[in-house]
Symmetry: C2
Subunit: 676 residues, 2 copies
């Protein structure tokens, strides 16, 4: 087992400590000196690559601005600064009630506003301004998901809805005042009875030509607006999503602006508001419920970029097809999935940085009689738990950056691709975050249960991501349906595949070698080939199964439902391949050197752990039993090779110490009586 | 696809509703009547078996006493009764601060005490008394994990330690006063520096023959007692685990009784106590930290069932080997793993009852143009998410009951088997609970985020189970090491296997049919054969790999660490087979009839989903690719066949409505404005 460096390290350490401390077990505990001491991981771990350079790659953009806002938050007393073990930490006090968390979250946002953080967020445009905004939002979310969600609802849901669904009259009236928080916006789309299925919402708006007003009403309890962030306490205005009925015809879902509170915070007439109550996380966000009692709003409050109603009550839209109209309304909301995917990965980074730093200072059990205890991360099983998740987090960092880039550079032509990619990435990245946090929580043992240590708390804070802005399972089905449509369309028109990364299907089916050596397994071409083969074959299987079912008389919808397992496998295969491509692209751009070398190891770990974890490789015969044995052995080897870089890899996340938690540093001192 | 009954149901429903409501989509939302209505699942679902009989099987024992304590809690205002949608619910208010949750938890325990719940818990003995106690504790945990943990620490850790580690003098002095809560006990084993590795604790106790006292000290910060439930606020006494140094020789870990607070709640001299702080769950439990500053306790306070120190300071023990002595100290603690495993399954039941009831009243999307929305549980993918977890929960119910039975009937001879089985069951059942709750949380969408709806909150409340009383990964390794030792011992002595369920290895290797029909897959003999084959082969592979590594000069410990993946596969194979056996045994005892029939379906689902989810079947060639395709298809068929029984199966859990949550019932009414 010469390749298992970790165990060599254990053995060396054991010998070293046994030689230097010849005390017998019988009096081990008698002297104070041999009590457990904290030793900073930096003392024992080396770093072979430039951490700052790696950090720039991972953050991708606006590193200086990120550091600026990290600093802003650390300086203020509003961010719950506390000293633990001689270090300053900032993170919310999660022992506060919902009411307290909401108030302090709003105060934190005021502070950021006063310090100019939100300047230009709605009044500046272009890819650079958008990226900067995304970077600042990401850092808000690293401090506390409630801050980023509350800011996100105001700017990305309310603000962007005004910007994208509205026209000049709305922009002039609302954008600057939103940026200055003179109005506080919320976004009333979801109802008690309808979440992911927006088309089914039951709120009804009619038009009264005599007063030139729209009349919004909540016809029944299931139509109450639900989960509306900001509605319970702070928002003054909302976007209302509603069926628009004109002269007895339902024109489908449209968006309107309604004021719900006056500037003093009193709820407006014809509006009822209730609280959604205490949640398992995100208690800094005041989610509320809204009922509209024939609320009258001016005709101009229809956000009319897609469709309008004339003063005499005629419905006008350039888009005749209601489905396309609905799609146009939903398209700008993609920003939600972009920010969710990206923030999920930053959350995973906090978890991994904490768990890996702790595993480099915490010991448990010894492997020789009376020998010293072994560092957690020197156990092969502990490496196997954390290092593959670390590699995935790296790969998904690049994926999130790529998603942001295609989003900020979007054109009408790229809308479909953005929808598909953002759906897949949102689902896979948020599931990855939840899994990573759970593994990190267990890997740090009981310490993960303390909210102060964040790892466990983040699970509750980020859990909602797997179902909001589209249930992950529904999103994955949408990915597969889109691939299906693309496949059918290309085959029908006998045209080559173009877009969605399917171009590889124009070539011949990749042939994999029967024998997999270590160098083959680490070769990017081989990795790409397996991922392409899997995607291609699953797409073919899926379309063929759907065709069979339709051939037996089933409707297309029913056929999709029945083929859900193939659809899930395909959605995953598509997304994992797209992620692999992003880390390969990042690697390709680098000059030769240690950053590129280590990133190559990380990429191979990402590729091989994805194969190792996917039973479909064996199930559908892409790899033989011998092959998957080789993959598993290679993953173990990579664990050993990544182990020496673990500290540097999490340091490269660029998250300041103060945004991690006490167990990532001197947890003995942090728990000392002198700190009580 | 004639076997997919669920889709037939969808089609029938679609036709039914389309016929009965010929309104066109254009004015669907104009009339109030067609708004979404709650329809109780009971209206549409049939029940073909006797739910009461099934409930008796699942609960296994003390059904009447369970109902009594459910009733006690529902009657009292202390349990946070509230009305939602016309029904009464009881569950803690999780928006309370830690301090408030601790106080109300203690008050709830006083109430249970006053109502005689704890009568005989320490003063009565025998299997029946023990089972009754376990049943009552389980129901406490269904209300709130904090209540059961706080009661469990007092009775099962403090109380049982006095009972099992102590002798007559301790029993007379402490047992009755513990039962009456005159003393409030806690259990100081874990330290900041040592959790799962109890042997490594650093607290030191010496003996002073001049005063006939032990002197307990915390020699350094890492030796502070940590996570001690009850220590922060309420406990008056504690068991202290400490290294015992007699005349310069460390005799290993021993347990002592120390008073830490007087009856007025003042902390005693030479004791320092600090809080562990806010947690992601279990905030009703006052976890604290304790430092001992040369605390002097009478010689009689050594719990001396295993070893004693004479008045003149001589160490006396009938067990000479320190390892065996340590083992004797730990053995009675198995009760912790028994109660954890069992309560994990009741938590999963709360999650599943809620998610399945919700999925029988919540609709989303339609499968035909303008058609009605489909019930969540009529989607094949939703069935696939929840019904296999339901079947596993059933199987694990029987497993937990079996574990309790072997525990209450324990003899010195069964200690090893109990240790191995309880380790495996604790790990597998608690992981299953976490996974089930996560799936249920996502399956109910955003509603799972509200703490009032429990599903999401339970994740935080029960998360600690995967690492306390032994980290799950460590426990699984212990299972495999025990199997290894058994294997080596039998082979060396050329004796047949006896115990740990390994008897099947005395026979010939099972041969599986190459073609798997539906009836083969559902046959208990086939299922047993696959599970046995997998266990047998993995055990052989594991021992052979260890032998190879040792042959290359590695130590046994290092070899185990390197073979961790095979060890994990083996631990899982052992535990899953043991679980299968318990549901097969339960089924075998039943007379022919509908309960037996449905339980047979559930058992087949448990067996097949375990195979479907385990990649080692393909990896190691127990099943062919065609075989696993057959397994997957059979799981889908079973989903369709279990779907009609879903409501009855969760009703059989016997959990009163008031202990579930509003989304399990009329969630429209519960959210109505009239309820605000």
């Amino acid at each position: 087992m010469s390749d298992n460096r970790a165990l060599q390290r254990v053995n060396i350490l054991v010998n070293h400590i046994l030689q230097s401390s010849p005390t017998s077990s019988s009096n081990l505990s008698l002297t104070r000196e041999i009590c457990l001491q904290y030793s900073p991981p930096e003392l024992n771990e080396s770093c072979v690559f430039d951490v700052k350079e790696m950090r720039k790659l991972l953050d991708g953009h606006d590193v200086v601005d990120r550091d600026w806002i990290y600093g802003l938050m650390t300086q203020s007393n509003l961010f719950n600064r506390k000293e633990r073990g001689g270090k300053i930490f900032v993170s919310p006090d999660y022992n506060q009630t919902m009411e307290q968390q909401r108030e302090i979250t709003m105060k934190r946002i005021w502070y950021l506003l006063e310090n100019g953080v939100f300047q230009g967020w709605l009044t500046e445009s272009g890819p650079e301004a958008e990226l900067r905004k995304l970077a600042l939002l990401e850092v808000c979310g690293i401090y506390d998901h409630s801050v980023s969600i509350k800011v996100g609802v105001h700017f990305f849901l309310w603000g962007n809805a005004v910007k994208f669904f509205g026209t000049k009259r709305h922009h002039e009236k609302w954008l600057k005042s939103t940026e200055d928080y003179v109005v506080k916006g919320c976004f009333a789309m979801t109802e008690l009875g309808h979440g992911s299925n927006v088309r089914g919402i039951e709120t009804v708006t009619t038009y009264d030509p005599t007063t030139e007003e729209f009349v919004i009403s909540t016809p029944c309890e299931s139509a109450q607006k639900y989960w509306i962030g900001g509605a319970a306490n702070h928002a003054t205005h909302t976007i209302v999503f509603s069926q628009l009925h004109i002269n007895g015809t339902n024109q489908g879902v449209h968006a309107f602006i309604a004021q719900i509170r006056d500037q003093d915070g009193n709820i407006c007439p014809n509006i009822r508001i209730a609280d959604c109550g205490h949640k398992i996380g995100l208690n800094g966000v005041d989610n509320g419920r809204i009922w509209f009692d024939n609320l009258r709003i001016p005709r101009e409050n229809l956000l009319n970029a897609v469709a309008d109603v004339s003063s005499d009550g005629k419905y006008v839209s350039a888009i005749k097809d209601p489905d396309q109209r609905f799609g146009a309304f939903m398209a700008p909301l993609t920003s939600g999935r972009v920010t969710i995917a990206s923030s999920a990965i930053y959350s995973a980074k906090v978890g991994l940085a904490t768990a890996i730093r702790y595993s480099l200072s915490r010991r448990a059990f010894s492997v020789t009689a009376n020998g010293p205890e072994v560092l957690l991360l020197d156990y092969p099983s502990h490496q196997r738990r954390l290092l593959p998740l670390l590699a995935k987090t790296y790969a998904m960092s690049f994926a999130a950056n790529e998603l942001k880039m295609i989003y900020v550079k979007r054109t009408p032509e790229t809308n479909k691709a953005i929808h598909v990619v953002s759906s897949g990435f949102k689902a896979v990245l948020t599931w990855h975050n939840m899994r990573t946090l759970q593994e990190c929580r267990e890997a740090v043992g009981g310490q993960g249960i303390k909210t102060e240590n964040l790892v466990g708390q983040l699970k509750g804070e980020f859990d909602v991501q797997t179902t909001f802005e589209g249930d992950n399972n529904v999103l994955m089905q949408q990915v597969s349906k889109a691939l299906f449509a693309e496949y059918v369309s290309c085959k029908k028109r006998n045209k080559p595949f173009k877009g969605l990364g399917l171009e590889h299907m124009n070539g011949s089916r990749p042939v994999l070698p029967t024998q997999l050596t270590s160098s083959t397994l680490r070769c990017s071409q081989f990795q790409t080939n397996v991922f392409c083969l899997r995607e291609r074959d699953l797409l073919e299987q899926f379309t063929s199964e759907i065709a069979q079912l339709q051939g037996r008389g089933e409707s297309r919808e029913i056929s999709f439902l029945q083929s859900h397992q193939l659809a899930e496998d395909l959605g995953k295969a598509f997304t994992e391949k797209a992620i692999l491509q992003t880390i390969l692209d990042a690697e390709a751009k680098l000059p030769a050197g240690s950053v590129k070398d280590v990133l190559g190891l990380v990429r191979s770990m990402y590729a091989l752990i994805s194969l190792e974890e996917d039973p479909s490789l064996l199930r559908y015969g892409y790899l033989s039993r011998e092959n998957v044995g080789d993959v598993r052995r290679e993953v173990s080897k990579l664990c050993g090779e990544l182990r020496p870089h673990a500290l540097a890899l999490v340091t490269s996340f660029g998250i300041p110490d103060s945004f991690l938690s006490p167990i990532a540093f001197n947890w003995v001192e942090a728990n000392a009586w002198s700190s009580v």
